[in-house]
Symmetry: C2
Subunit: 318 residues, 2 copies
């Protein structure tokens, strides 16, 4: 669905700002508490945090993170889910969000309503309150910027640093081909992230958003490399489908495509890996977990491995 109205009468410009703000509050419904705890004052007053607080920000932009093929409710949901995935990656749960929206005046009311309803439904699912925002006009641009606050669900936030040589590398789900639909249909791994954060043997974690080959570098301890068993990489069916079109290998898509929104983490070498994997299966029987390799100081003695550090990942601004 195109975000643009066919006729001026169906555009947000025809409605004007005050009436539009009224509508937005109705579309958000109970997800948006009354001022000063929600939209309507200069700032929103936040409820007291229980755990340690975390913050992250990610946008969705027309032509980059979504196009006419993504239903507007899916765009709204994706905006929140991208940020939820960042909280999941640290083992935290969401609390509060603010949304800055920049819209071409020709954006249709119908598109915008579904965008907000999709966002609100996703916010209800994860108990996120949307407490503030900004609405600005710009020509030929549609962008939504969500800042999400969260708090640790357990005793700690799991960071990207902390992995050591010898630690096993695990990844959730399957990788690659996200652009065929998963990029907006995925479910953020919040439960999985919180579960992993409660286990001290999980030493470091992040979400896979720019492709495993690139992202894994941030998890790799100094002086080590990531030694990956390429045969173990959980290549998605979408990656295989996409490869028939692009003439690249399914493995290439699994390693280099962005927007997987899976979790990759390091499990301490001395952990009982079998017990860990069994506990995972009991907790998340429908979510695949794959040991894909290990961090190593030298790969000389490991046969059949790929040094992911040699891989070029997705570089923005190229």
């Amino acid at each position: 669905m195109s975000p643009f109205a066919k006729r001026k009468s169906g555009s947000i410009a025809a409605l004007g700002e005050s009436a539009l703000l009224e509508k937005i509050r109705r579309w958000l419904g109970p997800v948006s508490p009354p001022a000063p705890f929600g939209i309507g004052d200069d700032c929103a007053v936040l409820p007291a945090a229980r755990g340690q607080q975390l913050i992250t920000v990610d946008p969705v932009i027309y032509g980059r993170h979504f196009d006419d093929a993504v239903p507007p409710a899916g765009v709204g949901a994706k905006l929140l889910k991208r940020n939820l995935s960042d909280l999941a990656a640290m083992g935290a749960r969401p609390t509060t969000a603010v949304l800055a929206l920049t819209l071409d005046p020709r954006v249709s009311l119908r598109w915008l309503e579904q965008f907000y309803r999709g966002l609100a439904a996703e916010a209800r699912r994860w108990r996120v309150r949307i407490v503030g925002g900004d609405l600005t006009q710009a020509e030929n641009f549609i962008g939504a910027y969500l800042t999400l606050l969260g708090e640790t669900a357990g005793p700690r936030a799991v960071t990207r640093t902390g992995a050591r040589a010898g630690d096993a590398i695990y990844v959730t789900g399957e990788l690659g081909g996200s652009r065929l639909g998963r990029h907006w249909r995925f479910r953020p791994r919040l439960a999985e992230g919180a579960w992993l954060a409660r286990r001290p043997t999980v030493r470091a974690m992040m979400d896979v958003s720019d492709g495993l080959a690139k992202d894994l570098r941030a998890l790799t301890p100094p002086g080590a490399v990531s030694a990956i068993d390429t045969a173990a990489i959980p290549v998605s069916a979408a990656a295989r489908r996409l490869a028939t079109r692009t003439k690249k290998s399914p493995l290439h898509h699994a390693l280099c495509d962005g927007e997987d929104y899976e979790l990759v983490f390091a499990l301490a070498a001395q952990a009982n890996h079998t017990a860990f994997e069994h506990a995972w299966q009991r907790a998340f029987p429908r979510t695949r977990l794959t040991r894909i390799g290990q961090f190593a100081t030298t790969t000389a003695k490991i046969p059949n491995i790929l040094r992911l550090d040699d891989f070029a990942g997705y570089e923005h601004f190229r």
Copy 2:
């Protein structure tokens, strides 16, 4: 200064993302703490808040909030100051910010460096830590979205609601003609806002960002109107200068121009107004404070007043 590089070699696209992120961290300097308390992980971990926490978000967008006439350091400073003004309006002080930046790949490194240095200088001035962000590419668009967290400086946050009929209306500084330069050169009224929040007779407050005529409606109690002594409105020299060009009256500019970033507030009818004004002068000898009228249930008996509620303010999306 134009944000666009004359040659590709001077653009951010020539540098690439990783090198650009390195530079951004250097430009921000000590304003940006190390991960996980700053940029570099999936989320930033926040320090514990002392008072009640507040949140606000505002962007600056090329062609709307700034143009080539505003130096890039001024654009960076304005981005933070717009948000600081929202905290000032509730009597709070700033703590932490995250920044989502969307840039055309042709943006020049020189422009971006000065933008960040201006932002960092302003952040140092107000002790704001910039702890996270996002960098995304888009064609023909330059927008920076800052989400600012703060905390109450005293026992309360002053909201927009709480004024009663009979309360006096005060405004800080001078109004109108902001587009001649003040829109990026202003100093946010954080000290003034915190001072006002400590006085229980200050019943409601907001900042003037869309023009007094429009903004004052949000402060007006239900069933009342704002009765303004037009002769008392502090019309800025810029509003008068602008009026000679636009053929509108200086008063029109003072009431309807946006981006004043002054504070407007309601002082309880029973307060000692003279003592209040004297205390203000001792605290802020160089900041003008003007009593411009009162909230009234009927304006029948008040001579020479303007009912600001009859005024049309600036409507976005028209």
